[in-house]
Subunit: 138 residues, 2 copies
């Protein structure tokens, strides 16, 4: 735990899965990108390479499972994965389903928006949440 | 190989390491972010989850080694990792050393620049290239 770290102080989104190592949250404050999940490491570590090999593999196995659920249920044009942490240096992976015609496509979601648009998803987000939890064997 | 894919047609940067599975290039066309490397999968696959478990682990083990070299030699404020591929859907990982005061910090490099600045690196990039090649046991 690190004093003043927002990801030590709070879950950081709607928790859809929680393990001893990490939690997976659905991001609620990016309405243009509704199928936006984050895997947040529970311990306060800054960099991916701070993890042990076992933890790194567990982390990316879970990121991969989230990606697979998004692909399977929502058939996005592309999945975007990123661990940045410049503002909040507490390890977290963004996993975002991207759709041609979404507000930023094909630019990254951090670039300027190109249009106003919210993708229509093939399945309700609650079904995606449940499938992620199931995929992580919870 | 996929016709018309720029990462099937060319290396995509200055090659610093090449294996059967992937190559690592230094990105030459982002002068504001000089310590910017990409791991490019040799086969044309779009998504990280298209890889076998063995290949995924090899991929992220290598990304981790690149991150470790950047941290060890350049002491960046943060390392940014991303696999996006919206424009070029051929699996590649961005590995970028970020520095407080760089042109975009703390925003992602894909956001609007906040200032004009080029980080002064603690070591020449050629030394970083060589250390990455060595870390990948080449």
């Amino acid at each position: 735990m690190s004093a003043g770290c927002p990801l030590c102080d709070a879950d950081g989104g709607l928790v859809v899965a929680r393990t001893q190592r990490f939690r997976v949250v659905r991001v609620l404050d990016e309405p243009a990108h509704p199928a936006f999940y984050r895997l947040i490491w529970n311990a306060h570590v800054a960099e991916f390479s701070d993890l042990s090999d076992t933890d790194r593999h567990a982390c990316m196995d879970a990121v991969t499972e989230i990606e697979r659920v998004l692909r399977s249920l929502l058939a996005p044009t592309k999945v975007n994965l990123a661990s940045l942490g410049n503002v909040v240096p507490h390890l977290h992976w963004h996993v975002v389903a991207r759709f041609e015609g979404d507000s930023h496509f094909p630019a990254p979601i951090w670039a300027a928006a190109r249009r106003e648009a919210v993708p229509v998803l093939a399945r309700p987000l609650e079904a995606v949440d449940a499938a992620i939890a199931a995929a992580l064997n919870l």
